[in-house]
Symmetry: C2
Subunit: 470 residues, 2 copies
Amino acid sequence: MEKERETLQAWKERVEHELDVVVAFWLEHSHDQEHGGFFTCLGRDGQVYDDLKYVWLQGRQVWMYCRLYRKLERFRRPELLNAAKAGGEFLLRYARVAPPAKKCAFVLTRDGRPVKVQRTIFSECFYTMAMNELWRVTGDAQYQSEAVEMMDQIVHWVREDPSGLGRPQLPGAPAAESMAVPMMLLSLVEQLGEADDELAGSYAELGDWCARRILRHVQRGGQAVLENVSEDGEGLSGCLGRHQNPGEDTRPTLPEPSPGHALEAGWFLLRHAVRRGDPKLRAHVIDKFLLLPFRSGWDPDHGGLFYFQDADGLCPTQLEWAMKLWWPHSEAMIAFLMGYSESGDSALLNIFYQVAEYTFRQRYLQSHPRQDSPLKQGTRSSKGITCYKVTWQFRDPEYGEWFGYLNREGKIALTIKGGPFKGCFHVPRCLAMCEEMLSDLLSRLAPASAPAPALSARSPPADPARRGAE
Amino acid sequence: MEKERETLQAWKERVEHELDVVVAFWLEHSHDQEHGGFFTCLGRDGQVYDDLKYVWLQGRQVWMYCRLYRKLERFRRPELLNAAKAGGEFLLRYARVAPPAKKCAFVLTRDGRPVKVQRTIFSECFYTMAMNELWRVTGDAQYQSEAVEMMDQIVHWVREDPSGLGRPQLPGAPAAESMAVPMMLLSLVEQLGEADDELAGSYAELGDWCARRILRHVQRGGQAVLENVSEDGEGLSGCLGRHQNPGEDTRPTLPEPSPGHALEAGWFLLRHAVRRGDPKLRAHVIDKFLLLPFRSGWDPDHGGLFYFQDADGLCPTQLEWAMKLWWPHSEAMIAFLMGYSESGDSALLNIFYQVAEYTFRQRYLQSHPRQDSPLKQGTRSSKGITCYKVTWQFRDPEYGEWFGYLNREGKIALTIKGGPFKGCFHVPRCLAMCEEMLSDLLSRLAPASAPAPALSARSPPADPARRGAE
């Protein structure tokens, strides 16, 4: 018990410190003081290498800042709130391509002119998340009405009529459902319904519908979570139907599967099961959306989660399939720590440790004597002859934030800290949620001599920062 | 001289044999006997893993079969001609999304229903190439009128009014020109004008316009070939403006640069310079589109050409930037052998050898004693204790055709032989063109005692297979 407490405590401190470093990186480098909103194309040291503004990432950063402000006392600082509000104003003013129509751009110029529009719902979903969180921290009703109106539009596109998205109806296009759509909607149901009985009630049926749709992606006799199924919930032929995604598809225009996506869907469903008080669903989700993708998606040779897999074990067609991306690992950390918190099954805690250790790993590589590579100071061995080169998995202790893209062997493939698909979101969300869950687990262990409370049917913790918004 | 002949002869034989193996692969595995057209999603051993039909690759394979039939005596076989005709009929019947409008789909189902449409000109360009070659081998005027009408449509989209492509006009989208567009058009000018004085004359101005537009992509004081420039031929800001592509952009919806693309543009321009009898242009092209991309694009650590680079030396945002793809290497082989053939500069021949040796390399890796990896038979060392694992760069002597995707270190990253962007095109085109150029170089060296003729101002060789079409 004492050993468990120590390990949990060590991880809590590590995660807490890392969150401070990561938030500091975005505060220092990403704010556009002139136009509002955020730069996300940031090099290793935080330098802006492109000033395009991706609407997903604008919405996500607004959401993240508000969430930190609202949930963690030490982040309740005006600089976070002001940057979030400036980001929100940027979105209100520029995100929609042809207001009052709701369709949002995918990417804008620095000053807000639309560059590209995607024919999907995702820009609009992150817009909604941003507006709802802004309302929660400011109490300004305009934000909430923006969020609710956009939500209505998204639900209309998904469940009634997708024609407003502008996708051409082609006779050969399979009537496929991507898991990303019900997943994203389920996270909005949770977002809008938090501590809001009226909205939670009005979205309850939608939440159940989303959960049912996500569960249909468990295919192959329960042995695989597939990214795409037919509209009737059946498997599809070809690559489209064999795609598995352990994390989340950051290139949503390509119809592919990955372990990280299954794990992210897993913790969305886990929270849904807890809200619904459904232990049978909880057990099913842990089995199919946590353990299954982890077992098939973990690289036995080099560690880490693959980006994409083929359900039949064929070679995926995505060039980056074997790369190790940051976000499947941050989603896995959340999923397994949550799985343990909700079930008490220590096997899940051990997987959390395994993923977290891979993610935080600092490797000392013996450098080849003839290799003229930069060496870290102070890493010569005591014998004075062997040199070591320090490399990291995802974390960058030198400049903060995480590298996003490693090759299969864990070497850094891209040195950027942010880009068109990586912003201030997955890393701080993971760290903040893990910090909260670890604190909660530790508080349940205290006092050391008392038995731990039952883990499954807890009510959600009170929100200590909520009063800050009122 | 005798040494040079021997080396050229050895490469000619190697290339000739490899072409036979590669063509045999596609003949055996890719024909759809039921619907016509070709399967291109083929695994290592040729097995079909998806039956979608990508219009680029359908057009390219029709073109390739006709070209082989027409140019190389040993391929003048009914099975190539019949498969090309069946592919042509498939395109005529299904490629256009809404006939009689000219816009073609990007990908079709096996039986020809459109799955996806790209808002670019490339499907239509490969359709045109296919139809023109079909006319050349069959003499059927219907194919040629299809080719010429589609060409008119493409030129209209590029030079007069792009609205038919369906791209939305967004105020933030930069008015950028991708090098791929004038490159592709220039190759069509050559295709349609071959041995056809009337068409060659009517496209002469277009050819010069294409060449001028491609040359505008030499930027940074002549130190980089950039993939995108403004409509006025100036550099652009951000990633879009820093993109270099050594080969060709196989993901044309992403605005990025690569060394292989510059090299491919290089040999298109080289042929243009020869047709125009312009030695000054020839020298400029060798300098800027061959030597410059090779010097910046060759990986000093592991060999091979990078896929993408950033003109300012920043980290590219493409996850696959450091991978070694087959086609930049096949384009480089063509470009440097052509550069040598046209200029006689032996430095270019040496680069051809360097790239060809990288491409054809077979590596014996000492396998780790504990590693349970499949070993090739007969590779134990004479001491009986050291085991070697045979790996290849691109060639696959076991099943034929080339692997398309290696990681930076040259290890096979994807085992597929064909996919959405790799079909029967770059490899056989490279091998057939190199075989022809090597034969030509050898014939210029014979008899061994006679002086080699001047290399620069030759007229193009007579087409021995042309009569087959008449």
